[in-house]
Structures are given as structure tokens and as C-alpha cells.
């Protein structure tokens, strides 16, 4: 079930009404309703994959309890490894099996040993990378004794399958989300209104910004041979806004929906395109994944401690794994590698924590220095996104080669000029609003500063109308494939 679908528009009010009016007096029933609704939400795509969520839930719930009961560290470690094996095994099989088969076949052919292998007919379950990491965080935290294991299976099942963030995050930590399932939840008007506001903003980002940008990004990336440099440059820029609107839009809808049910999810995007260096970008982009890798991979590997060699190794490890997490394709690995290259000099010079605050806070415009820093960081990001979006590394190289040929100064060749202009205007408007309210959790939250209620409602009305007016072209959320 997509957030931007009629199905969800029917589903959400029904679950909301049952949650607050029918089962509101019993916490366990509320949690049970969340589990049922979440399984329905997920099963809407393919009910067969519910078995994977159920397996993950049962395995990690059981292992969590075992970890608490067991005092012997060796045995505890074995339980942890069992959890890692089951979760990462499922992920590996469904997501990476064919990639490894193809890579081995190619490698052996390269060494003069041709192998005849067939790819397996495997369908990738929606959101498997997200809920796998979420359940892993639980087991690891219990193993590290940072979190007491739950004895409430329903609460745990609700934590694993919580429908707002099940298929594309934010990847919640058990330490943040699980305790919320133990507490009585009461309806809070302001929290719910804020949730709706965030849903509205998320839909605007997805339906208006991402879907429109997708049209031109798809044209450029699907017909690279036919276009000149300027068109390809625009294509890359459109993809840059598409992926941001798409993914952060999903996160906004997820966080807003969770608020309607009295849950508080972590911020996942913090205006990343206003970052002044790559380190800041990674503190602001897909925060739940970056911090996951930081806490469960980078720091255990030694983090920024140790010698230069070890620090370099750790940086590459985290970025390459992050790239590989996104998909079984060399393009994602190159994307991760590029980001590691961008990050490395900043870290080695000790400048990776230079830009921690909001850029030009309290000012209308950034300083020239900040402006150029933002521009350079943005440019580097756009370049890396080309690898992320391309079908193969060869495709990305062809794209970049064509982008920088003499046709870079030619006119863009997109035929639907009207739609192109409308999209550019919308993207500019979007970025202006993001800039104005960049110190908020999400841009539209800043509208509460507008004193006139009429003006605020006019803004909501305009956004809602824009969403409806642009709702014709349907695009799946990009991050569902991860």
C-alpha cells in the first residue's frame, strides 16, 4: 500500500478511528491493532512476505529473552550470531543472491574458467533492508545490555512491523521506539495537527516535487545516448531533487502518521542540500541509517580512533557497506566509494565536525563562504547521484562523459517545455521554503510562526490543491526497492 494511494487514504482513517475510539482503553489491544493494521498494510503488496517479518519477529524476540537469561558471554555471543545469521541471511538471500552469482560467474570467466549459472527467480520483499536493520538494533542493544529485552510479544511485533515506517524507514532504534509501545498513549491535538502538517508536506515533496522531477530524470537516464550535456546535467539535477523529495517525503509521511497514533519517530532528513561539507551532509541525509552504521559498524571497528590507516579503512568500510545496503549493484558501491573519497580529506584534516549548527542561523542569506561551500557540496552530491541512478557503472561513465562534452552549453532538449518550466518553478519554490524554515524539524513546521490563521490555512489549501493537481503521474517510492 503506497502512502500516495486511495487505498491508504481509506486505510488510515479507519485504523485511526479504531485506534482512538474502539480500542483506546486497552494498551494491548491498541498494540494488537497496530500489528494487524501493519500486517494488512504490508500484505497489500504480497501477503507471502509476511512470513519473513513474522520469522524475524519470533527469532529476535526469543533471542532477546535468551540473551537476558544467559550469563555466559560465549553463549550470549552465539545467540547474537544466530540473530545476525537469520536476519542477514534472509537479507542476503533475497537481496544479494543473484548479485553474488553473477559476480562469481564474471570473475571466473575473467580468469578463463567459464561457468554456466542461472540467476534465481527471487522477488525482493519490500522494505526488507529497513525492518531487518531495525530488529538487528534490538538484538545488538540487548546483547550490549543497553536495553532490557521485552517480554511483551505483541509490543515487540508492533515495534518490528509498525506500518508508518515499516517499508522505508526511518530505521528506528529499539531504545527509542519499543518503550513507546509500553506506555499509555493519549490523543494530543497539537501533536496530531503537527502530524497532519508533516504528512501534507511529505505528500507535497513526493507527489509534486519528486514525481515531476522523475519525468525528466527518467528521460535523461533512460535515453542518455540521445541527449546532449545540458539536458543530461538537468537530468542529474532533477534526479537529485527527485530522490530527496521522494525519500524525505516518505519519511515525513511516516513520522506524521506515527504522530497521529501518539508515537514519536526520529528525524530522518535535516535539509541536507544546505550542507557545507560532506560530513555535514551525512549528518543530515538519511540520519537513521547513518547513525545505525555509525553505532553498529563504524564505532565497533574503532571509529576515528587508531592510526591513519585504520581510520581510512573504517571510513571506506562504512561508506561501501552503506552503498551495498542500497542495492545489489556495483553502481551503489561506486556511489559509496565516491562519498568515502569526499569524506576522507575532511576527516583526516580533523574538519569533519566543523559545521554542526544550522547554516546562517537567524539570517536571510548565507555568507559568501557558506554559499560556495554549499554549492560545492551540492555539486559533489549531484555527481555521486549519477552513479546511484545509473543502470550500470558503464552507463554512469557514459552519462558523465556525455555531460561534459561540448553540448553542455546547448539548449536542453526536453520536449515538454511547459512541464519543464512548471517543474523548475516548483523546485525553486520548494527550496525557498526549505531555506526559510531550515531550523525546523521539517520545513512546513515553520508555518506556525505565521500569525494569521487564515494565511496558514490558505497555505495548507494551496499545498493540498497542488498535490491533487499533480497526482496524475504515479511513481513508486524509490527506497521501496531497498
Amino acid at each position: 500500500m503506497f502512502f500516495n494511494s486511495i487505498d491508504f487514504a481509506v486505510f488510515l482513517p479507519i485504523v485511526f478511528a479504531l485506534y482512538w475510539f474502539v480500542v483506546n482503553r486497552d494498551l494491548r489491544l491498541q498494540n494488537l491493532l497496530i500489528v494487524g493494521a501493519s500486517y494488512l498494510f504490508y500484505g497489500w503488496w504480497d501477503w507471502r512476505f509476511l512470513s519473513l517479518i513474522l520469522l524475524s519477529t519470533v527469532v529476535d524476540y526469543t533471542i532477546g529473552l535468551r540473551l537476558q537469561q544467559e550469563a555466559d558471554n560465549q553463549i550470549r555471543k552465539r545467540w547474537l550470531w544466530l540473530s545476525l545469521s537469520v536476519n542477514l541471511g534472509l537479507l542476503g538471500f533475497f537481496k544479494y543472491c543473484n548479485f553474488f552469482i553473477e559476480t562469481f560467474t564474471t570473475a571466473f570467466s575473467f580468469m578463463g574458467v567459464p561457468l554456466s549459472t542461472n540467476s534465481l527467480d527471487i522477488i525482493l520483499p519490500v522494505g526488507i533492508s529497513f525492518y531487518t536493520f531495525q530488529t538487528l538494533s534490538y538484538t545488538i542493544d540487548v546483547y550490549r545490555k543497553k536495553l532490557a529485552p521485552t517480554t511483551d510479544f505483541i509490543a515487540f511485533a508492533a515495534f518490528v512491523s509498525f506500518f508508518p515506517q515499516l517499508v522505508a524507514g526511518p530505521i528506528e532504534r529499539a531504545t527509542n521506539l519499543l518503550p513507546q509501545f509500553y506506555k499509555d498513549r493519549s490523543f494530543d491535538y497539537h501533536n496530531a495537527v503537527d502530524g497532519l502538517r508533516q504528512i501534507l508536506w511529505g505528500l507535497f515533496k513526493k507527489v509534486v516535487i519528486a514525481n515531476n522531477c522523475a519525468i525528466f530524470a527518467n528521460l535523461a537516464f533512460n535515453n542518455t545516448d540521445e541527449y546532449g550535456g545540458m539536458t543530461l546535467l538537468l537530468g542529474a539535477l532533477f534526479f537529485t531533487f527527485q530522490i530527496y523529495g521522494d525519500f524525505s517525503g516518505y519519511s515525513d509521511i511516516a513520522i506524521g502518521t506515527a504522530r497521529l497514533f501518539g508515537f514519536d519517530l526520529k528525524q530522518n532528513f535535516a535539509f541536507p542540500y544546505f550542507s557545507r561539507d560532506i560530513a555535514e551532509f551525512w549528518r543530515r541525509w538519511h540520519i537513521s541509517l547513518s547513525t545505525w552504521f555509525r553505532d553498529y559498524l563504524y564505532i565497533p571497528l574503532g571509529g576515528s580512533r587508531g592510526g591513519t590507516g585504520m581510520r581510512i579503512r573504517n571510513v571506506f568500510a562504512i561508506f561501501l557497506v552503506s552503498g551495498f545496503w542500497h542495492g545489489a549493484n556495483w553502481t551503489f558501491i561506486v556511489w559509496g566509494f565516491l562519498n568515502a573519497l569526499y569524506f576522507l580529506p575532511i576527516m583526516l584534516l580533523g574538519n569533519n565536525r566543523n559545521n554542526l549548527g544550522v547554516v546562517a542561523e537567524g539570517k536571510w542569506l548565507p555568507s559568501l563562504r557558506d554559499f560556495f561551500a554549499i554549492l560545492i557540496t551540492f555539486g559533489l552530491t549531484v555527481f555521486a547521484w549519477i552513479f546511484f541512478r545509473a543502470d550500470s557503472v558503464i552507463h554512469a561513465i557514459t552519462y558523465i562523459t556525455k555531460l561534459f562534452d561540448s553540448s553542455l552549453l546547448s539548449m536542453p532538449a526536453f520536449s515538454d517545455t511547459m512541464r519543464l518550466l512548471v517543474t523548475v518553478v516548483l523546485v525553486v519554490l520548494f527550496m525557498v521554503l526549505e531555506w526559510l524554515w531550515r531550523s525546523e524539524q521539517f520545513a512546513l513546521a515553520g508555518i506556525v510562526r505565521v500569525k494569521s490563521q487564515v494565511l496558514r490555512y490558505c497555505c495548507y489549501f494551496l499545498l493540498a490543491m497542488l498535490i491533487l493537481l499533480f497526482s496524475g503521474s504515479e511513481e513508486q517510492f524509490i527506497y521501496f526497492q531497498f
Binding site: Y189, L196, M465, L469, S471
Partner: protein, 297 residues
Amino acid sequence: MKRFILHTIGFVTIVGLSFLALLSRADGSYDEFYLRFTTPKQENLILGTSRAAQGVLPSVLDRLLHRSFYNYSFTLSTSPYGPVYLESIKKKVDPAISTGIFILSVDPWSLSNKDLKEDQTSSFRENDNFVASTTRVAQQPNFEYLLENLNPAYRILLPKRKTTKLHKDGWLEITIPMDDKSVLKRTSAKLNAYRSDLSRFTPSERRIQSLVETVEFLKTKGEVYLVRLPVHPEMARMEQTLMPNFDSRIQPAISLANGYKDLSTYNDKLQFTDGNHLYKASGETVSGIIGDWVGKR
């Protein structure tokens, strides 16, 4: 909670009503199909693909046959003869009528499958398009069509199109430059496109059977006439390659119908916008020929 629900319902209602009000602005300049799903059920229809949509003018037939015709033709990819188009026709025909006149444009393309993937009725190319999905074909405004096919909806707010206009009687008027150079360029492009697609098309017994079923159904509602509209001579040659024995292949439908007229004798006497579609003036001429022929029978 009460305040939250009231505010939310109020807001959603205002937005929804405003959007529906905006949608009801859609007219014949919005797209090439919408109006055909907004007019009442009809007694006399012109059926076929875009050739008929542009080339047969209901107004001319109205004048010659003293009744009101409606052009319910779409395109080659959306209304070739098949179960989907037949279902839509059944919905558009006035159920009470028994003295209607139905003019069906026939040609090899609309009786052929494109690619092998169309070997089953369930995989026909038109199965997933708006002719198939629009269940209400006589509703004004037709929100079902608009909500399914607005892509994107903001186009309703844009200035009216200058090149295409769908008239209230279903005729699709095309206004484009008709100087020799422009016509040659479009004709060359269109013929090349069809030439490269020729090997992908295969005559379909199932579609021919559907044509027969369409004629059978319409015969219960009145008289049925089949016409083969004129095309550019080069297009006619391709059609000859695709279905060399066209008339004999559709003989079961011809023998059921009240008449069949092959207008290919006019292929080199008329003006086409692109080799496939008749230009307005030629469409008027051809409509006059059809009207006279039907009137005499």
C-alpha cells in the same frame, strides 16, 4: 479529538469540493477523449480508431441522414476491435433503440495483434487503458475518467490546445500546418513508423471474431455499415502486405452487415495530415460519400 476531526473533515471537504469544481472545467480541449465519456447514450454511432475519429464528421451525416450521429472512435492502441471496445460500445448505445445506424471503420491494423504478447485475449494491448477502465461512459462531468486519466490534473488550468479539439459530437478536429513541406515531413515520419512496426503486427482471428460480435450486437439496435476509409497509397500497400485478402478475411462481418464500402479508390484523391488520417476538408468529402451511400440503401 472532536475539534481535530471537525477541522480535518472540514478541510478535506473544502479541498475535495474545490478540486472537483476544477475538474468539471475539463472540456474538448483538455484531451482527445474525455468528452466522449460525458455525452448521453447514443442512437447512431461512428466507430473505429483515430482514422474514423478524425475522418468521419457526424455533422455531415446528421445533415444527409437527418439524424444525430456521434463519433465514438478512439485510437489504434485503445479501440481496436476486441472485447474491450465491444463492452464500451454496449455501454454507449441507447438500450431502448432499435432503429439506429452504426458506421464501423475497418482496416487491417485494427484487426491485428501487435507483438506476440497479444496472443491471448487477456493480454490484448487495450486491456489496461481508459476505454477498458472507464465503466461510466455517459456521465457529465465524468470524474471516474478524469481521476483515472489526469496526467497531471493541472493541465486543466493551462491555455486551451490549438492543434486538437474534440467536438461535442465526438469528431476530433486537427488544425495543423498543411503546406507541402509539413505534410511531407509528417507523412514520411508516420509511414516510417508503420513500416517499422509492420513486422510486429499479425492478423488476429480473435479480433475478427470480435468485429463479427460487434456487428451482431449492433444489428439488434439497427443497421450496420462497414467502411474502409481512404489512406495514403503507401499506407495502403503496407495494409495489403499485412492482410492481402482483407475483404475475404472479414467476409463473416460483411455478410452480417447491411453494407460494406471500400473507399480505397479515393486513396490518391484526398488530403491526409500524415498519410494515415484524413484532413478536415477530405474528411468532410468522405463523410458525404458515406452519408450518400447509406442514404441510398
